[in-house]
């Protein structure tokens, strides 16, 4: 059986994922499902069959969307599915995989195809391990960490755009309102992250980190123990149970460096740690370490930078 690979990103194009999928296809055509407005972009990346849908029309009833995708997958005889691991797609794809009796691997950081088998690579146990996972079902599915592959244009000359229609039938899930936030997004995209741990000691301590952050146009992050202690809100938690960040500089104050936290910062270009405990584990993982009281250093930085 020949691999029939498809990328499903009906809400938002993940260009890197399409580039990756094109490379997996070799000489076979790639099928994608993207919003109407992204048809040209998908073409420029080398997709052959471009199915498009009105992303707004899809609505919020993911049970219905799942049913619709199931019919789409069966109709087009797709047997390898890749989708970005966003909150919504992870929910939809899990339901889809179950209904299709398809093996599913979550949040992969790399994928390849060998002899029609999808080889899926993902971190495990708090990124202390890297697991290679394969499925032995006739349909194989992976969600892939969003936007991690580079976007490489490779225009496909004979692309075919196929508009699809989705008809919603008074679903069981309704959207009452939506509020977009810029700040949470800012943390995962920030170039400088100022992070505090349990060592910060209080909410007031975090206020000081916020002052430094505003001087540097940086985002504030916290370790799990600082969040547990109530010094900072969960939304700025970095680590396994929080967000993963990838700034140019990660400045960690009063953070000891538990595995759970390190898992969220491995993408940082430079890690600078300030801790008064010279044995703090985070020092082993830092590019530069300052053994000193965090507040002394923050005060000095505020003085120098303001």
């Amino acid at each position: 059986m020949r691999s029939n690979i498809a990328v499903l990103c009906p809400f938002r194009l993940d260009g890197g994922l399409i580039t990756k999928a094109v490379s997996l296809c070799q000489n076979t055509p790639l099928r994608v499902l993207v919003p109407h407005c992204d048809a040209d972009a998908a073409m420029a990346l080398g997709a052959k069959f471009i199915h498009t849908v009105d992303a707004v029309c899809l609505g919020v009833d993911e049970q219905q969307i799942t049913q619709w995708l199931k019919e789409f997958v069966l109709r087009e005889d797709i047997n390898i599915i890749l989708a970005p691991a966003t909150v919504r797609m992870r929910c939809i794809i899990s339901q889809l995989a179950f209904l299709l009796n398809a093996g599913l691997t979550a949040d992969c950081i790399d994928v390849s195809v060998e002899n029609e088998t999808l080889i899926q690579i993902r971190p495990a146990f708090g990124s202390t391990q890297i697991a290679t996972i394969t499925s032995h079902s006739s349909i194989q599915i992976a969600t892939v960490r969003p936007d991690i592959f580079p976007v490489i244009p490779r225009p496909c000359k004979d692309s075919i755009v196929i508009p699809e229609t989705f008809l919603s039938e008074g679903g069981r899930i309704k959207q009452l309102s939506i509020q977009s936030f810029t700040e949470q997004f800012a943390l995962t995209q920030a170039k400088i992250v100022i992070a505090g741990g349990l060592g910060i000691g209080s909410r007031e301590g975090f206020d000081k980190l916020h002052r430094l952050a505003s001087v540097l146009d940086a985002s504030v992050a916290a370790s799990r123990s600082a969040v547990d202690a109530g010094f900072a809100p969960y939304d700025c938690q970095v680590g396994i149970t929080g967000k993963a960040v990838k700034p140019e500089v990660y400045l960690a104050f009063g953070i000891s460096g538990a595995v759970q936290h390190l898992a969220g910062i491995s993408g940082a270009r430079k890690i600078i740690a300030v801790n008064k405990d010279k044995h703090a584990p985070i020092f082993d993982y830092a590019d530069y370490a300052v053994v000193a009281d965090w507040e002394t250093v923050v005060d000095k930085l505020l003085e120098e930078l303001s």
């Binding site: 339901q95 890297i130 949470q184 170039k191 993982y285 000193a292 120098e304």
Partner: protein, 257 residues
């Protein structure tokens, strides 16, 4: 009256995971604790129950989870169910969802099924939506701020770039964000009562399941290799003079474009 089921998972303490050189994970020797997001889900259920209803907690795992389940009874759950069977070892999310769905159907009618958004060990978050698919219920993931009115639940779902307020008809499956709720402490009477309340234990036969659809045999995915990944040690220089340290930090910050 709202009958709520909460699925909970015991996970290893990730700061104390014992993995041998071949990459095999020793679940039996590692300390288990309830997954943090699942405790958030238990509290979400208990606060909804305060208006009236029942809370059942359900887990799948080793027999030694009986005592930790009693802790959840002490916090206010009415019934605790443990599915434990050697045949379940090695279940992937697909097999797990099938077993949980079978158990849910056996246990009776539930208006609402809550789960933690994802476990800290597997980190897939796949079981709640798969369970929903198995039960033909709608599913909302990454939720908080649940309120119940009549036959629907209103909640907030956190997405990458925003927060959606949604309403969903019961019965449904909702997965709760870690830290969205802080689990209440047990009361002294509740503690005593919990000790006397039996934990319902089922093996796969009790659920009418056969070994071929459980554990490794019932799974569709297989871990073909696992290797230790060390967070890359950067071992940068250590500075003990705060002035010199600050000057160097500023140099690093100035390099940021």
């Amino acid at each position: 009256m709202c009958h709520i089921l909460v699925c909970v998972k015991a996970v290893p303490d990730l700061n104390d995971v014992q993995i041998d050189d071949s990459g095999k994970f020793h679940r039996s020797t590692t300390n288990l604790q309830w997954n943090i997001a699942d405790l958030s889900a238990v509290e979400a259920a208990l606060s909804l129950k305060d208006i009236g209803g029942t809370v059942t907690v359900l887990t799948m795992g080793p027999a030694k989870l009986e005592a930790p389940l009693k802790e959840l009874l002490a916090r206010g759950a009415d019934r605790a169910v443990l599915i434990s069977d050697p045949a379940l070892v090695g279940s992937d999310t697909y097999a797990t969802a099938k077993v949980l769905a079978t158990a849910v159907q056996k246990l009776g009618h539930f208006d609402l099924i809550l789960c933690g958004n994802q476990s800290v060990d597997g980190e897939t978050g796949q079981v709640p939506p798969m369970l929903a698919a198995a039960l033909n219920m709608p599913c909302i993931t990454n939720a908080e701020q649940l309120t119940l009115n009549a036959n629907q639940i209103c909640l907030e779902r956190i997405l990458e770039d925003g927060m959606a307020k949604l309403s969903v008809e019961l019965p449904c499956v909702v997965s709760i964000r870690p830290y969205a709720y802080t689990l209440r402490l047990p009361g002294i009477f509740a503690l005593r009562k919990a000790q006397k309340t039996p934990v319902h234990c089922f093996g796969i036969q009790d659920l009418g399941l056969t070994p071929d659809i459980c554990g490794v045999f019932g799974s569709l995915t297989k871990v073909s290799a696992i290797e230790k990944q060390f967070h890359s040690r950067r071992n940068g220089p250590k500075e003990t003079n705060p002035d010199t340290g600050c000057a160097q930090i500023i140099r690093y910050l100035q390099e940021v474009k």
